[in-house]
Assembly symmetry: C2
Homo-oligomer: 357 residues x 2
Amino acid sequence: MQTLTVDLGDRSYPIYIGPGLLSKPELITPFIKGKSTVTVSNETVAPLYMDKVQQNLQGLKNCQVTLPDGEKFKTLEVLDQIFSSMLENQCDRRTTLLALGGGVVGDMGGFAAACYQRGVNFIQIPTTLLSMVDSSVGGKTGVNHPMGKNMIGAFYQPQCVLIDTDTLSTLDDRELSAGLAEVIKYGLIGDPEFLDWLTKNMSALMARETDALSYAIYRSCQNKARVVAADEREAGQRALLNLGHTFGHAIETGMGYGNWLHGEAVATGTVMAAELSHNMGWLSADDLEFVKNIFLKANLPVEPPASLSADEFMQHMSRDKKVQDGVLSLVLLRQLGEGVLTSDYDPQALRAVLERQ
Amino acid sequence: MQTLTVDLGDRSYPIYIGPGLLSKPELITPFIKGKSTVTVSNETVAPLYMDKVQQNLQGLKNCQVTLPDGEKFKTLEVLDQIFSSMLENQCDRRTTLLALGGGVVGDMGGFAAACYQRGVNFIQIPTTLLSMVDSSVGGKTGVNHPMGKNMIGAFYQPQCVLIDTDTLSTLDDRELSAGLAEVIKYGLIGDPEFLDWLTKNMSALMARETDALSYAIYRSCQNKARVVAADEREAGQRALLNLGHTFGHAIETGMGYGNWLHGEAVATGTVMAAELSHNMGWLSADDLEFVKNIFLKANLPVEPPASLSADEFMQHMSRDKKVQDGVLSLVLLRQLGEGVLTSDYDPQALRAVLERQ
């Protein structure tokens, strides 16, 4: 087992990474202060791992909430189901919420914990590659709004993140690839050494070789923990983690939540950001090819959906959280391994990227 | 004009109290960082004061959201209307939300500000006595759930609180009395000198004498600011502010939100807490009479609704936010002017209070 720490003063917390961790109650129990828990999961993950998690919680008053599976259920209405279950089960301020599942479960579980009786403790137990390397770490929680991804939410940190790498064995191939999009992101924005490692080990990752996956998870979480510790509420560098996300969120919102997986949209969005960076003269044609190829090797889409017009893209992007006083900032690539947040891009060059679909 | 400060380190903020403050843009504008605002109000208050507030915001991109009036609209669904309006108007992370109205508008506006894009700045502009002396100060925001008052929310502090005492001229008598319930509370839990002043000045307050009302507001806010600064997230003494609220919330939830005003339920709830304190031997029969009489002088109800059974009371109270690990703590009166939070009360004595309706 490996341990990382997200360093946030009195809100610091550990990330545990390794096989078989769901069977180690000693990792979870120190973070449960009260006498009750609620475990939030979904209909895909609960049959696989709920019993295992509950076995760690003996002697407590426990209840479970099973949500429908998918991004399209990441709504205020479904969030309200969590609140209702918690009230029915008389959860109180000392109840600990465990979020067992992928990014949707983690984001909604975390937001429910942030809001229930104005805040209860919670623990992230991610079971998808994407949530292990990205969404379970750093305290961004929330739900979607029909008009935009993750528009309603809170910064709210968990007590700990428990990553049992064994759970990846039940992850389907499409979800594995989606997770790799966020892994590749870390290399592109600020870790050229890791980017190099990824180009050499992509086949091992796609073949689910344990050591390769474990290393990729550890290195990704290390990157994420460092950035979050430096800029918890995204006043600056944390925005770099959103490489490809402004384009990607427009795809997810425009195509209907869940039709494109988040990681798929991020892969295509990152290629679009790389194209704009190329149009700005920052990336060479070879660099742009490199970016496309690494996503293609991870079996991810690199072309935006033909049905989404440039105007629709612009409309969705104008509601991005990186808009300030009407000006949209984008994360671009100054070079491979160096992301930059800028509002100083050529609008014509952006338009060119959006129109060539 | 008088100024108080809620002392919370880098989240400290001023409370301005006085007549004519809605016409002083220099008070609000220093707290607006971006170039846009959204003012949330309701259909009763907006026709009276929206224009006046908007005149302070010239040169900014402003939009308004007008909610239906009443506690029964303090829901997740109505909250979602605020989010939709903000997205339609392309509000971003630098938008400032102004909450113009009573407690419902302030609680929902504040919670919307806490959650919109994971947090935007907000300003409280309370227009009812109750919201001036209590809910606009201290950062408790949220909405009700069918199963319990204020069950969903956040601790989220405003940038400033602007109390224009002139707005009380449009408040109806029932709302004025409801506000006095929270004013009396401050005296009962920890300010015997103020309690004495209140007994002598209740007729002046009921007659809306300006000096008396201003003093009552100032003194109440001073009490509130002190308690919040010492215990922002209600780990201890802040709970004393909830004298009468556990019984009161049960009445509000049990009778249907809005049928009893919050202040009316708090008045009756406080009398019930005083009865239990009397049953415990802490208050004399005279003390109990004193508590009843001061609420009666403020034209407030002191008898719980006959239609709410003791069992129903217990059911609602069991979901109170002061339940920890299944044990309900109550705020009682050790003596007049001294509140105490305790779980060490006699359940039989509580039952007796609930059954004598």
